[in-house]
Subunit: 236 residues, 2 copies
C-alpha cells in the first residue's frame, strides 16, 4: 500500500495518517503530516511485553497509536515505581533526542499496543523545519512537570489516604466518564500496580479503598472499575 500525498493512507488507520491524531503534530497541514509519516516506523506489542528496559540505549521518540503503556523504575530497595501511564497520542523517550545515555525507566505495555517510532535524526530535522512542534513539546513537558510536581506534593505526605485519594482523582480525570450512578472509572492498574504508582503497600490500597467505600465516597465494582459517588470528599 503506497501513500500518495493527495490520497493519504496509513497502514494502521486505513484512511488517515496516524500522526494526525498526535497532538504534537496537530499544527501541521496534510502535506507536512506526510513528511512526518515517511519518517515513522511502526511496531506492535501485546499486553505485558517490555518496550524499553532501563539502561537500554535508544535513539528514538515513541508515540502511542493505541493501547496503554506504563513507565517505571526499579528503586534502590527493589520496588517498582510507576511514573506515567501513557495512552493514545502521548509520546515518551524525549530524553533520547538530547542525550546519549541509557534509558532511566522501563516501559511495558499494559494493553495491546501499536506504537510509532521516530528516530532522533529525522525528528531533529522536523524540529528545525517546524518550530511549532517544539512549542507543542514544551507544552506537553510543562504538563508533565506539573503532574510530577503534584505527585511530589502528594508523595511528600506520609498519609496513605491522601495519596489514594489523589490517585483516584487523577484516574477520574483521565479514565472516568459520567454515569447515572456517579463517575465511572475504569482502573488502568491492578491493586499492586496502584500501590507501585503511589508508593504504598498493596494491602494499604485495598484497605483504603474499602474504607472509602464504607464512607460512601466510592463504590467498588469488581477489581477493575469503581464509581466515585462524592468527588468533593476526595478532594479534601
Amino acid at each position: 500500500m503506497i501513500a500518495l500525498s493527495k490520497d493519504i493512507v496509513c497502514e494502521h488507520c486505513g484512511h488517515q495518517p496516524c500522526a494526525k491524531r498526535v497532538p504534537i503534530f496537530s499544527s501541521l497541514d496534510d502535506e507536512e503530516i506526510m513528511q512526518v509519516v515517511s519518517l515513522i516506523t511502526r511496531r506492535e506489542y501485546s499486553k505485558g511485553e517490555m518496550i524499553i528496559i532501563q539502561g537500554d540505549l535508544s535513539r528514538s521518540l515513541i508515540i502511542i497509536h493505541s493501547g496503554k503503556i506504563k513507565t517505571f523504575r526499579y528503586t534502590a530497595d527493589g520496588r517498582e515505581q510507576i511514573l506515567y501511564i501513557f495512552q493514545q497520542g502521548d509520546f515518551f523517550g524525549e530524553m533520547n533526542l538530547l542525550y546519549e545515555r541509557g534509558a532511566s525507566y522501563n516501559a511495558q505495555a499494559i494493553e495491546d499496543c501499536r506504537i510509532c517510532i521516530i528516530h532522533r535524526d529525522g525528528f531533529q530535522k522536523l524540529l528545525q523545519r517546524y518550530p511549532s512542534i517544539s512549542l507543542k513539546i514544551i507544552e506537553e513537558l510543562c504538563n508533565r512537570l506539573d503532574k510530577m510536581e503534584n505527585m511530589v506534593e502528594s508523595m511528600s505526605s506520609n498519609d496513605a489516604e491522601l495519596r489514594v485519594n489523589e490517585m483516584l482523582l487523577e484516574f477520574s480525570r483521565k479514565y472516568g466518564r459520567e454515569h447515572p450512578e456517579g463517575r465511572l472509572v475504569e482502573l488502568p492498574l491492578s491493586r499492586e500496580g496502584m500501590a507501585n504508582y503511589i508508593g504504598v503497600a498493596r494491602e494499604t490500597v485495598s484497605r483504603k479503598l474499602v474504607h472509602l467505600q464504607d464512607e460512601g465516597i466510592i463504590r467498588l465494582e469488581g477489581n477493575k472499575r469503581l464509581f466515585i459517588l462524592d468527588e468533593k470528599a476526595l478532594q479534601r
Copy 2:
C-alpha cells in the same frame, strides 16, 4: 546608561549583558542577545522576600541573574513543600507563557537576588525568531523532569534515611566542591527547609544527619555546611 550594539553594557554586570550567562540564550550571537536584553525588565529582592505567591497571575518568565530562589507549595495539610532551588542562569514561570492560570507555586528569595523578567509577548516573539531557544528550553525541561522523576522515586519510599541521603547527593552535585577533608557542601537550606524539601519532620533530618555522622559518612560543621566523607555509602 545606553546600550549600543557595539559596546554592550548591562546595568547589572557593567560589562556584559546578563542574558549571555543564561543557558537558554547561549546559542545567540551578540546582536541577538541585545534584542533579548531590550525585552528584559530587572528587579531585586532581598533574602526572605516573596517573588511569586501561589495563585498570582503572572505573564512573565523569570530568569535568575544572581542569588537563590526556592519555589514551594502549601500542601493540603498545611506543610510547605519545596520543589526547586533555583540559582544563577535558571528560569522559572514557563507555565506563564502557555496558560492563563494562577501560579501553582510560591517563589521566595533565600538569598539576596537580582532577576530578569521577560513578558510572555516578547518571549513568544523570541521563540518564533530563534527556534534554538525552544530546544534549550526543552533540554532544561527534560532535566527538570528527570529531577522530579528521581524525587518521586525517592519520596515514594517511606524510608527517611534514603530521602536524606538522596538530598545530600543532590546538594553535593549542585553546591559541593572538593576539599582535602572530603566534599564540602554549603547547605542552601536550614534543617526545617531540608525537612520541607524531602517531606519529613525537622527532627528527623537532625537525627539522620547525626546518625550519618556517627557512621563516619559525613561530618557536620556548624549548621550550614558539612563534609561528605564517604559518597559511596550515601548511594546505597
